[in-house]
Amino acid sequence: MININTLLSSLVLSLMLALSGLASAAEATNATQMIAEAEVMNKAAGEIGYEWRDTASYIADAKKALADGQEDQAYQLANEAYEQAKLALEQGKLMRENWQQYIPM
C-alpha cells in the first residue's frame, strides 16, 4: 500500500529543493508589504493556471489579522502565502516547459 503522506512529503520536499535558490526571497519588512508581495506573486501563479488552493485564504487571513492589529501573525500568514505562490509559479513554469517528460510509460 502506498503511503501517500510519505509520497506527498517527498514530492513537496523535492519540489522545494529543486526550486530553492531559483526565486528571490521576499524583501518585505512589514505585514502590509508582505501581503502586497504575496498578492503579486499569487496573481502571477494564477495567470499561468497554477495557483494553489489555499494561498488566497492565507492572504485573506493575513489581512484580517492585520486589521485586528496582529502584525506578527499577519506577517507570518502573508509570508506563508508568498512562499506558496512562489513555489506555485515555479511549478507552473517548470511544467509548461517540461510536461511531456512526465507522461508515464
Binding site: M1, I2, I4, N5, L7, L8, S10, L11, V12, S14, L15, L17, A18, G46, G49, Y50, E51, W52, R53, D54, T55, A56, Q84, L87, A88, Q91, G92, L94, M95, R96, E97, N98, W99, Q100, Q101, Y102, I103, P104, M105
Partner: protein, 287 residues
C-alpha cells in the same frame, strides 16, 4: 511500482537532456493530426492493458469497478436501485417541458440521444463544445436563463440525455490544427503536476491506479468521461464531470478552474479522445 517517487530534481535533469528531442511539434500546419492522435490513444490504452491484463477493455467505462472486485459488488448492489434513477426521471420531465417561447430542448437535440456528438471542436468558434455547454446554449438561444454547470437541473437534463444515449460509441475526431491544439492543451493539463501536492491527473489515474492512495484506489484514466454526470454517495446528488474535475484539483490543493472553463473543456476533450473505442454509459453512480 513506484515511479511517483521519482525525485523532481532527477526528473528535471532527465527533462533537460531529452527535451530538445521530444518537444511538441503541434503547431505546424499540414500534419496528419488523426494519425498523431491515434498513436496517443494506442499508447494510452496499452498502458492500462499492461497494468490490468485481466480487465476487458470495454469494462473501463465502469471506472474503478473494472479493477476492484470488492468495490464492484457493492456498486452492483447499489445499481439495483440506481441512485440517479430519480434524477433521470426529473431530467426527462425538464427535457420535455417547453420553454417560454414554445420550443424545448427537443428543438435543439431531437430525442436527446446525442451524447456521442460531444465533446467536439467547433472550427468557427475555435473552441471545444461540451454537452453541458450545448444544453445551456440551447437555453439562451431560446430566451431562457443559463443553468449552473456543476449540479441541479443541468446535470439532470444531461443525465437524461446520457441515459437515452447509452451504448453510443465514443469516437471523437481530432481533424484540424485548431482541434489538435485544444487536444494538446488538454493533454498538457492531464500530465502536468499541479497544486501544493505536486500531483498530475496521470499520477493518480495512471501511475497509482490499482494501488491504494490512503483509503482509495484511484480509478483508471481510461473510460473516465464515459459515465458522467454521476451520482456520488459523497455528494448525495448528481454532479457533472467538471464538478468532479474541480474536486480532484482541490484534493491536490490546486485552485480549481470554473466548470466549462477552457482548461476543463480541453481536458474533457483530451480524456474523451483517450477513451475512443469505448461507449458512453452515463449517468453513473460512484462512492
Amino acid at each position: 511500482m513506484f515511479t511517483t517517487r521519482i525525485q523532481l530534481t532527477l526528473s528535471l535533469t532527465v527533462a533537460t537532456l531529452v527535451a530538445s528531442a521530444c518537444m511538441p511539434m503541434s503547431k505546424k500546419v499540414g500534419m496528419d493530426y488523426p494519425a498523431l492522435v491515434q498513436d496517443d490513444v494506442t499508447t494510452f490504452q496499452a498502458f492500462f492493458e499492461k497494468r490490468f491484463p485481466d480487465t476487458e477493455k470495454a469494462d473501463y467505462i465502469n471506472g474503478v469497478y473494472s479493477i476492484d472486485a470488492d468495490a464492484r459488488s457493492q456498486w452492483e448492489s447499489l445499481e439495483e436501485f440506481p441512485p440517479y434513477e430519480l434524477s433521470v426521471d426529473q431530467g426527462k420531465a425538464l427535457y420535455e417541458t417547453p420553454f417560454a417561447n414554445g420550443s424545448s430542448y427537443a428543438t435543439c437535440f431531437g430525442d436527446g440521444a446525442v451524447r456521442s456528438q460531444y465533446p467536439y471542436y467547433d472550427e468557427d468558434r475555435a473552441m471545444v463544445i461540451t454537452l453541458e455547454l450545448a444544453i445551456n446554449e440551447c437555453r439562451t438561444a431560446n430566451g431562457e436563463k443559463v443553468l449552473k454547470y456543476k449540479k441541479g437541473d443541468l446535470a439532470k437534463v444531461s443525465a437524461y440525455m446520457s441515459f437515452v444515449s447509452r451504448g453510443q460509441a465514443i469516437n471523437v475526431d481530432v481533424a484540424s490544427e485548431g482541434a489538435y491544439n485544444a487536444y494538446m492543451d488538454g493533454k498538457e493539463f492531464f500530465y502536468s503536476k499541479r497544486g501544493q501536492f505536486n500531483i498530475s491527473c496521470a499520477d493518480c489515474h495512471m501511475r497509482a491506479t490499482g494501488f491504494y492512495l490512503r483509503a482509495d484506489v484511484p480509478s483508471p484514466g481510461l473510460g473516465q468521461t464515459s459515465h458522467f454526470p454521476t451520482f456520488r454517495t459523497k455528494w448525495d446528488a448528481l454532479g457533472t464531470l467538471h464538478r468532479r474535475y474541480g474536486g480532484c484539483n482541490e484534493n491536490i490543493r490546486a485552485k480549481a478552474f470554473s466548470a466549462q472553463s477552457p482548461e476543463y473543456r480541453n481536458l474533457e476533450y483530451f480524456q474523451t479522445v483517450m477513451s475512443n473505442g469505448l461507449v458512453f454509459n452515463g449517468p453513473g453512480s460512484r462512492k
